[in-house]
């Protein structure tokens, strides 16, 4: 029987397990559902596997070594692991799929031929948030003060260059406030600073326990919740549940929308959960992160489908999948066909565009769940693109000789 192997460098253990688990469940269950419902993708079974990293870079690198021979894609799942495997992917010829995370300049597909961060990069996220809080009028930010509360790690520092560019252009003050990994649960110093600085907005690049800590402290210091916005990894139902009512009004940008009634979710319910093929926590099915996990697996599957069609084969190789991921065409119709309309904005990728820049929506915590509170927002290409290009170039130069996709003429 034909099969392709898709291994996920998961983290269901360690300090970030709470956020990792629903994401991993979603990914697994989508693949299981396809296997159950359709017998895989065009007759090829999807062998979904996990290699546990515990969000630890060293374990991640080990998992990469272990799986690179068999898996047709690497999903590193942490910025640290992504940076680690990024240079190796050129040599090993395995695509890296890092949806909505990793290194923002990766969206430059010419330089990062093997890395993909659809449907949006962190810089997209930052741009979308700014657009939303300024209600579409970035000039209105002039003279304002914006705090970036971030994890003191490469992930948290990702949006800084772009936000700085914005600050210069639109005349607002950007104040990054770092939170150490060991201080995640104890952010009173950071929130005292926020109280002192009286910013107009607080943006958050937080992860795991940091999100809970931040929202709790915000409530404590009476920071207006509607001025507090997180990136998509800071909008986790599980986190917010432990804050409950106090977090009411907190918003998070998201490139995905939970839509439990969509046909794909209903199929998962029918073929996987009801059939007891897998277990998930109570209420988890409706969570943003679980359904985001489903979407992430969809990227891989659609990549496989594209590659199957293009190369006219059934069992695609890692190199063929790379082509597939570079040629995703997820328009309205395609999304509808796979039963995911309304869960993600349509987008497509190209050889120079590995992110797709799909845009997203603002979600707001209403005390019990996240609800959509904005129209579709897209990122500012003219702010982001130049930065992507310079940073990508810098990376390539620092790591010379670095292969560039010269064939890509776009």
């Amino acid at each position: 029987e034909d099969a392709v192997n898709v291994t996920n460098l998961s983290y269901r253990t360690g300090p970030f397990a709470a956020t990792g688990t629903p994401l991993m469940n979603g990914q697994r269950d989508y693949m299981l559902m396809l296997n159950e419902r359709d017998g895989g993708v065009n007759g090829v079974k999807l062998v979904y596997d996990e290699c546990e990293t515990g969000y630890n870079t060293e374990k991640g690198a080990e998992c990469y070594e272990k799986t690179k021979g068999s898996s047709i894609v690497t999903q590193p799942w942490s910025t640290g692991i992504t940076l680690q495997v990024l240079p190796k992917s050129n040599v090993d010829k395995i695509p890296i799929l890092a949806p909505g995370y990793g290194f923002s300049p990766m969206s430059d597909g010419k330089v990062f031929q093997w890395a993909f961060n659809p449907p949006a990069s962190y810089w997209d996220g930052a741009s979308m948030i700014l657009k939303n809080i300024s209600e579409g009028n970035l000039d209105s930010l002039k003279g304002k003060k914006i705090v970036l509360l971030h994890l003191d790690a490469p992930y948290g520092k990702e949006p800084i260059p772009l936000l700085q560019a914005y600050a210069e252009k639109y005349g607002f003050t950007l104040l990054p406030i770092p939170v150490g990994v060991k201080e995640m649960q104890n952010q009173s110093a950071q929130w005292l600073q926020i109280r002192r600085e009286r910013p107009d907005f607080v943006l958050m690049w937080g992860w795991g326990a940091m999100n809970v800590g931040a929202v709790t402290e915000a409530a404590k210091t009476k920071f207006p919740m509607d001025k507090f916005v997180g990136i998509w990894w800071s909008g986790h139902d599980g986190d917010m549940k432990s804050v409950g009512e106090a977090g009411k009004g907190y918003r998070s940008i998201s490139w995905s929308l939970p839509h439990s009634e969509s046909s794909v979710m209903q199929d998962i319910k029918k073929y996987v959960l009801d059939a007891k093929k897998a277990e998930i926590g109570e209420g988890e099915f409706d969570w943003v992160f679980y359904q985001r996990g489903v979407l992430i697996s969809m990227f891989t599957v659609e990549g496989i489908k594209a590659a199957q069609a293009h190369f006219n084969t059934k069992v695609v190789s890692a190199e063929q999948l790379r082509w597939g991921l570079e040629n995703l065409k997820l328009d309205e119709a395609a999304l509808k066909a796979i039963g995911m309309d309304g869960m993600i904005a349509p987008f497509s990728t190209a050889c120079n565009n590995h992110a797709g820049h799909a845009g997203g929506w603002m979600l707001q915590w209403d005390g019990a769940k996240f609800v959509k509170v904005s129209d579709h927002i897209t990122a500012d290409a003219e702010m982001i693109d130049p930065l992507v290009q310079t940073e990508a170039k810098k990376y390539a130069e620092a790591n010379a000789p670095w292969p560039i996709n010269e064939e890509c003429k776009m």
């Binding site: 690198a61 190796k88 000789p401």
Partner: protein
Amino acid sequence: MLYRTVGQFKTSYHADHALFPVKQDAWLLGFILLIAFVVLPATANEFVFNALLIPVLVYALAALGLNILTGYAGQLSLGTGAFMGVGAYACYKLVTIFPELNIVVAIALSGFFSAAVGVAFGLPSLRIKGFYLAIATLAAQFFLVWLFEKWAWLYNYNSSGAIQVPNIDMFGLTVAGPNAKAVVQYYFVLCVVCLITWFAINITRGRIGRIWKSVRDMDIAAELVGINLMKAKLSAFAVSSYIVGVAGALFVFLWRGAAEPVLFDIPLSFRVLFIVIIGGMGSILGNYLGAVLIVALPVLISFVPGALGLPVSSAMVEHLNTMIVGATIIGFLILEPHGLARLWAIIREKLVIWPFPH
């Protein structure tokens, strides 16, 4: 009697000061080197190199460094990870500032940076002892990692905040960077590790080693037999941090290929400490045995369920693995608190008198 020492007489102090006064030990070492230099490279695949062999060597080297400080000189350090970081960042800066510099030279030089930092944080050891001294090294640990994060010059202001190893050639072979072959890196690391181990053996059995051990066993008495405690302790910090720094440079340049600051955080320090204690404090051999146990065992364990065809999820494997490692540490400590090296010594002693029980 496999291990017959009877009949091996020494007729000069020269002979008594040879590396291996007992013949069997020399043969055993020869055998191990043969395996390390010939058999393993011929049989290993890339995964084995990258997940087992190279890490075992690098960790053993770091443990050797820590062992000099903790096992020989008796100064507890919980900051090994940060000192490895100093070595790694120093090497990165050297390589990017002087691209023409030979990588061997760069690695050798980077050790001096961590030695200097080590001495600076070792100064409090003149007044502070035991677990209290751990605070000095923890201060180093947390301060340095914070610095790696904050001081953008260290990572050349790149937007990822991490250091990335470029491709580096030596004698026409790529030894570091994404294009390097695992087997080349393995040989490189193996040679460095062997050389430093030989140095370490020499230092620890001579005058300086004796001074360190005296300070460890009883520092008051050491002072009263005329040993200058300051020199003794600081030299231990210097030599130890040098080796740890070199290990850090190898860690990033010859193995990982990239590093973000959290990599050098306290879990790394603890890992190296595990190796030292499980392997045996005050033993050179112990570092290798410990590294095999702490680094390689978990990797191997994670294959067990798959090999047996057990339907265990990878998360469960990881949980079990953590438990097993914890239990193994406790188990070995109970079995032989002085570490695997002592266990080996006892086995050897038993072999000497074998087949008699006592």
